[in-house]
Amino acid sequence: MKLEHGHIYIKDIVLGDKTQVEGGVLTVDAQALIAHLKEDNKVKNVKVDLARPGEEIRIIPVKDVIEPRVKVIGEGNGFPGVTSKIAQMGEGKVHILSGVAIVTIGDIVGFQEGVIDMWGEGAKWTPFSKTLNIVVDIEPVEGLDPHVHERTVRFAGLRAAEFIGFAGKDVEPDEVLVYEIGTQVEETAKYPDLPRVAYVEMLISQGLLHDGYIYGVNSQQILPTLLHPNEELDNAVISGNCVAACDKITTYQHQNNAVILDLYKEHGKTINFIGVILTPELTTLEGKFRTCDYTAKLCVNLGADAVIISEEGYGNPDSDLVMICKRCEQKGIKTVLITDECSGWDGMSQPLTDMAEEAVAVISTGNVSHVVELTAAKKVLGVAEAIYTLAGGWEGCIAEDGSMKCELNAVIGSTSEIGYHNCTVELY
């Protein structure tokens, strides 16, 4: 498969009468975007705001982050199986409004966390303080069942990304990156001596607000499955997870999966990157055993010499992570795990709920209980009261000057377990 990412580097975003890109500036016609989203009769109101890096803006509670793109060559514009007709993804050419993100907000439940601070201390902790954000606040009609509510907000975000992405259709990209990996037979013939490396990407698959979708299929319903890395880089995987702010994989992070991109850089040089295995993190123990056995079996049958395994979430998925690791290592496949940890406010507690001596190579992307101090925002986009849930009910968490303490837990992408961010842990 060959996929081209044509990056149109966007320097600024402004509101205006026409959605277009000119001289690296993206103009957004907010009214047209709102009208487009309200074509869905379940959407009652939409508000559109812009948030640029450095502005004293807090966005809360974030549901998803999505990158605006348009397919210019090949089939499957949008998110096939979700917002558009099903298509085989991973081939052709995509234009990307690089540096721009659609950020959807909307409180499906009262305890949703997920904050992005565009400035100051808070900005350091989230990768989405560096993007030019088009913040879409979606209010659905009353009386929707929570599933329909969630889907309405999810679809609106994806449709907004499609709508904005279309502005890049006829713009010459500043840079084109080519992602090409052939069939197993071809690549093995080309690189017979390079070690074969697979990527196991785990997805929370446990029910409402805890889901992920592959070509529109809820990952709860699948056995672990093999993807060509290009498919994920081409909108095949989206997020339906909105209760694990720090370590959920947003749609944007699927579209730009850091592990896939960094393995691609080594493909043909030091490794033969043989594919991505998406593995659901189920709730039942029997389900966990089945998917972990099955994942290890796929790795064995693909002839993998080594795998990177990334977790999504914290708590019960730790068991899956450790089980997949054990099974692979016992089959002689070398593993590197990526996970975040919960070592308490003081960092003195045991970091994972499950451990194994086979887990010899682990990347830690930070302590979810690490406490950070956020200063008061000049402007809050979303639900200002969500701050109180965010601050989490411990004494003295909000100071008189409006600054507050919160755990990384609540900060979008702070401890990204696909290694999208820079946090790590040092032992002192």
């Binding site: 350091k124 070690p195 490396v197 850091a258 592990v259 991109l261 960094d262 393995l263 850089k265 080594e266 030091t270 490794i271 010499d305 080594a306 990177i308 990334s310 070398k334 590197v336 990526i338 996970t339 940890e341 070592s343 003081d346 960092g347 003195m348 045991q350 970091p351 994972l352 451990m355 194994a356 001596e357 887990a359 010899v360 190579a361 682990v362 990347i363 830690s364 992307t365 930070g366 302590n367 690490h370 990384l408 990204s416 377990e417 696909i418 290694g419 999208y420 961010h421 820079n422 946090c423 790590t424 842990v425 040092e426 032992l427 002192y428």
Partner: protein
């Protein structure tokens, strides 16, 4: 700024083993290694006093000794407390460790000591105080003191210590979230390439050390077996004749139970980690000699070994526990015991 120093009878230049019973005394000058420490930190701070205490006195009168020493530290108005280094000396190490931990915890004065990695004191101190890594003998004093002085100055000036590997101390176990110059996925790919090339790599989340002991072979014929009773539940004869510590035990005890049908009445608990009421009323609830005796009467087991072994598990360091286990195990093996009933609380 003021520093107060702690040394044992030997480094305090009052004598050797024969003076190990000396109670703590405060001398208002730098004695022994405190002098070297003073030279290294030049005039940035003053060692205002040295506390000298015999190792045996400390270990045998721990509670009293700690109280006296803490009072001396408090009265000195110290900004920093330094103990040792103790190298691989066990009793001195325990004293340095426990005093440092208490100074840090109870007086909130930064505390610093130094010892060898196998010193049993290490586990007592490392999560509270800073413990500099030293060699196993006093011959390495020259290497240890400059590291202690450098870290001591940082603590005095309230400069955050660097990584354990940078400043030469044993990690305290605090996992601190920081920023790396590389994103997580890049670090993962680099670690994977190192693994594939069989080059050394450093995991970012070390797993705990799994000390798995393979189980012994099953006893073929229980009716001919001699079973010994061992506990870490702090069950001792009334009056605790060997003065086994109620926490952080330094020793174990061995008591003749031949002819006894139960421990009840003659034994009680000195364990500091649980409510003693029910164990004191009936010590067999923790170490069930009564049931063992019944099994013998019924012929299910051959015999009960005539000695009972005991210590206190709470707060006892892993190193001490391993040592006790080896010592007790050796005796039992030599006595031909076939199996052990080991109870904990």
């Amino acid at each position: 700024m003021k520093i107060v120093y702690y040394v044992n009878q030997f480094f305090g230049q009052i004598g050797g083993e024969e003076k190990a019973g000396t109670p703590p005394q405060y001398v208002d000058k730098a004695v022994g290694p405190a002098g070297g420490f003073q030279t290294l930190i030049k005039d940035e701070a003053q060692v205002v006093g040295t506390i000298i205490c015999g190792d045996n006195y400390f270990n045998e009168h721990k509670e009293v000794a700690l109280k006296e020493i803490l009072a001396m530290v408090k009265d000195s108005g110290a900004d920093l407390f330094v103990a040792g280094p103790a190298f691989n000396a066990g009793r001195y190490g325990m004293a340095c460790a426990q005093v440092s931990a208490a100074v840090q915890k109870e007086l909130e004065i930064p505390a610093l000591t130094g010892m060898y990695e196998e010193n049993p004191g290490l586990e007592e101190a490392r999560s509270e105080a800073y413990v500099i890594k030293t060699g196993d003998s006093a011959g390495t004093m020259r290497k240890a003191l400059p590291l202690m002085a450098a870290l001591g100055l940082k603590l005095l000036k309230k400069v955050a210590p660097g990584l354990p590997s940078e400043d030469g101390y044993f990690a305290q176990g605090r996992r601190v979230t920081v920023f790396s110059d590389k994103r997580g996925s890049v670090r993962a790919v680099e670690m994977l390439l190192k693994r594939l090339a069989e080059e050394p790599f450093v995991t970012e989340l070390p797993m705990p050390v799994f000390d798995n002991v393979p189980p012994a072979q099953a006893i073929a014929d229980l009716s001919k077996a001699t079973i010994a009773l061992v506990t870490s539940g702090g069950i001792v004869p009334l009056g605790n004749p060997d003065r086994i510590q109620s926490a952080s035990a330094q020793k174990w005890g061995k008591y003749d139970i031949s002819g006894k049908k139960a421990l009840k009445g003659d034994f009680y608990t000195i364990h500091g980690g649980y409510d003693p009421v029910y164990a004191n009323a009936y010590a067999d609830r923790v170490a069930p000699l009564d049931v063992l005796y019944e099994l013998k009467e019924e012929g299910i087991i051959g015999d009960v070994y005539p000695y009972f072994y005991t210590t206190t598990g709470t707060g006892t360091s892993v190193a001490s526990s391993v040592a006790f286990g080896k010592e007790i195990g050796k005796e039992l093996k030599e006595a031909g015991v076939s199996g052990v009933l080991l109870t904990s609380t």
